[in-house]
């Protein structure tokens, strides 16, 4: 059974924000505009999180690209009253927009603040809607949404593989963020498969996970900087 996971190498990440933009474009995240942003309602499935350590001359700032960490034991799934968010067969924590009732309990329960809510109907000024990705639905207002590890790419990749009469293999699937990263700081693949690139990297001594102490067992690993 496949278990999709991601490794983000903070040593390579240059904080260029490409992943964030790629995610926006791939997953049809509509901009909410200046007023709404100023009210903390901007949408990012993946954000570049600044972390400050030390102070004065010794201050260090690092930027942590943070998608949904796709817990294996997701607090959001535990609380959902209607099966709208659930742990998929391949370890992807999914949000089913047509089922969600918008109670936002999952948002309240997520220790990573990885979920966002459609406070209004998403707006696509002019023809922007035509630039949207047909593989990802345009969400209605009033539902919660989140990073899906670009599961539509998984679906398509598998379809391609099957059409070619083989099973899906490492490297067939690359989420938009990983694909766009000029520093190749993001790796994606099957954690079950010990030979895959990701499981290799997760064995690195630099590997860590966000709030692993919470027992949520995230499938997004980070590699700490080397210096």
């Amino acid at each position: 059974m496949t278990r999709w996971g991601m490794v983000i190498d903070l040593d390579r990440c240059t904080g260029c924000g490409s992943c964030m933009a790629a995610c926006h474009q791939e997953n049809n995240l509509a901009a909410v505009g200046p007023e709404e942003s100023s009210r903390d309602r901007a949408f990012h499935w993946l954000r570049v999180l600044p972390e400050v350590s030390g102070s004065g001359a010794e201050v260090k700032v690092r930027y942590v690209p943070q998608p949904c960490v796709q817990c294996d034991d997701p607090p959001c799934v535990r609380v959902c009253p209607v099966h709208a968010t659930y742990l998929g067969e391949e370890g992807i924590v999914a949000q089913i927009y047509s089922r969600c009732i918008g109670c936002r309990y999952c948002m309240a329960a997520c220790p990573y603040n990885a979920k966002v809510f459609n406070w209004y109907e998403p707006e696509w000024p002019g023809d922007l809607k035509q630039g949207t990705n047909p593989d990802v639905s345009l969400r209605p207002k009033g539902v919660v949404e989140k990073c899906t590890f670009c599961h539509h790419r998984v679906v398509k990749a598998r379809e391609e593989a099957r059409a070619a009469g083989r099973e899906i293999r490492d490297g067939d699937v690359t989420p938009a963020c990983a694909e766009s990263c000029p520093a190749r700081a993001i790796e994606f693949g099957d954690l079950e498969d010990p030979t895959s690139r990701v499981s290799e990297l997760t064995r690195s001594p630099r590997a860590f996970r966000l709030h692993a102490d919470l027992g949520t067992r995230p499938k997004v690993y980070y590699l700490a900087e080397r210096d």
């Binding site: 998929g88 999914a94 639905s137 899906t148 599961h151 679906v155 059409a163």
Partner: protein, 168 residues
């Protein structure tokens, strides 16, 4: 003044009527611009679904053929049916024929024909019913496209029912 229970009863009746009307409006029959005859093409002329629905095996959508496809045979009239005359007119004008879709899935569903036909090896009839035998446009889909329908079939064929497979 009429007493309470009566009022309640009246209210109930009203409610019933409203819902009744609503549901009757639900499945209005679908009319097509041209009375296309599937049987004629399939059974009599022995053509194959994919001859006109070009991408049924390869595409996400099977596509409904339009003038440019029809023109292959109907550039000029083959018979004296006035339906065909309509078609020829469309072709001549280059206007696309405003076919109305009979089978469709909502925007939040990813349905790939190829995944089911070419890879899954499912017959068109399984989901579309005996379209080939219809001699005039069908007002309602033979098979209703419903999530339960999809899931049952996935059950039987042992295909995964993971929501993510189809919900996008």
């Amino acid at each position: 003044m009429s007493s309470g229970p009566v009022r309640v009863a009246l209210l109930g009746v009203l409610l019933l009527i409203v819902t009744g009307v609503a549901f009757s409006l639900l499945d209005r029959p679908i009319e097509q611009p041209i009375a296309f005859n599937h049987r004629l093409h399939v059974e009599d002329l022995g053509s194959d679904c994919t001859d006109c629905h070009l991408y049924a095996m390869t595409g996400v959508r099977a596509t409904i053929p339009n003038v440019e496809v029809c023109a292959d045979c109907h550039a000029e009239a083959q018979t004296d049916s006035e339906e065909e005359a309509l078609l020829v007119a469309y072709i001549a004008s280059g206007e696309p024929i405003p076919w109305r879709k009979l089978y469709w899935v909502p925007d939040h569903v990813y349905f790939s024909h190829r995944r089911h036909t070419a890879i899954g090896g499912i017959e068109c009839e399984t989901c579309h019913g005996p379209m080939g035998e219809a001699s005039e446009p069908v007002p309602r889909p033979f098979v209703k496209v419903t999530m339960n329908g999809c899931m049952e079939c996935h059950e039987q064929t042992g295909t995964s029912n993971d929501c993510l497979l189809c919900h996008k």
